[in-house]
């Protein structure tokens, strides 16, 4: 699982190397910080279970899908090495499932939807909610598939409960992601890479073309 994760992160590095505007540099840091913090905030869902934001959709909406892969790789790597959270050998799978797959699924779907429908703000946020949920479900399904491939547990045993519990966690993901994106839209709409909302008056200097999907 490390190979596709490394490939996606390497491509993220490539995209950053090519396109990253210096004015957006601090934004990558702050999105990573927010995702890290939010991943600590487990919220209770049914049956003695909790969920927390994964953040791939949030990062993808704000930075584009490839930079989002980088952000999640940074967050999950720090969690594994500094906090002993998530195995080192599982890091590739974790980056893939919680980062890459969600960021790409959410980012590519949302990017296409924005191009197709040029949504207003409310519609855009509804789309963000939808892709947030999808990203969590994709990650959960991928985790089940990998657990089956590794011989840990058959797919038929883990997939139904994984999808069931993550259908609820995905709602939390959608709520938090929409709240965060709304806050950014209110303050600096031009910083939302996958949106096509112009800067407000008196924003400092023209923004360069947003990264978006490439």
């Amino acid at each position: 699982m490390a190979i596709p994760a490394i490939a996606a992160v390497a491509y993220g590095l490539e995209v950053a190397n090519r396109d990253l505007d210096e004015s957006r540099v601090p934004l990558l840091g702050v999105v990573a910080a927010f995702v890290f913090a939010a991943q600590m905030l487990n919220f209770p869902i049914a049956g003695g279970t909790s969920g927390h934001l994964l953040g791939a959709t949030l990062a993808a909406v704000l930075l584009g899908p490839w930079l989002a892969c980088l952000v999640l790789a940074v967050v999950l790597t720090v969690q594994a090495f500094a906090f002993a959270d998530g195995g080192i050998t599982a890091l590739g799978a974790n980056v893939l499932n919680m980062g890459v797959l969600g960021a790409l699924a959410a980012g590519l779907i949302l990017g296409a939807a924005v191009r197709a429908f040029s949504p207003d703000r409310a519609t855009f946020l509804a789309m963000v909610a939808g892709v947030s949920w999808i990203a969590v479900m994709v990650g959960a399904a991928a985790t089940s598939i990998q657990l089956a491939l590794s011989g840990t547990i058959p797919l038929g045993t883990s997939l139904p409960p994984m999808l069931g519990v993550h259908a609820l966690i995905g709602i939390g993901e959608a709520v938090i992601t929409v709240a965060a994106v709304s806050a950014v839209l209110a303050a600096r709409p031009d910083l939302v890479a996958l949106g096509r909302f112009p800067a407000r008056e008196r924003a400092p200097g023209p923004r360069t073309a947003e990264e978006g999907v490439t």
Partner: protein, 114 residues
């Protein structure tokens, strides 16, 4: 709002959440851990021995007795660490991208362990 101000406010929100809210987060197992418990494969996830050297294992700042304070401190350190790493990585990439075409295709260092 200028970008610097935006970043400062957003970082303050992130640090505030990690310090003040995370100590009160649910301690129930998360989705995957719950399924792993129920289906009996939780013990297949063993930490690697490298992780014995983790500075802040399990989000509890070492040497702090009060659990909530230990978690809040861990959140503070972690959030700032991630900010600095993300910022630093992005700064390196933005800088190297301006000069040489196709330069510095470095792999992410820590993933080499995977």
């Amino acid at each position: 709002m200028r970008t610097k101000a935006f970043v400062a406010v957003a970082l303050a929100v992130a640090v505030g959440l990690a310090v003040a809210v995370s100590p009160f987060a649910s301690s129930s197992p998360d989705g995957l851990n719950k399924v792993a418990e129920d289906k009996g494969f939780l013990d297949t996830a063993a930490p690697s021995s490298i992780q014995d050297g983790s500075p802040i294992p399990g989000y509890a700042f070492p040497g702090v007795e009060n659990e909530r304070v230990a978690t809040g401190l861990a959140g503070f350190v972690g959030t700032l660490t991630v900010f600095v790493l993300g910022f630093g990585l992005a700064a390196l990439l933005a800088r190297s991208g301006r000069g040489s075409a196709g330069g510095s295709r470095q792999r992410p260092g820590p993933d080499a362990a995977a």
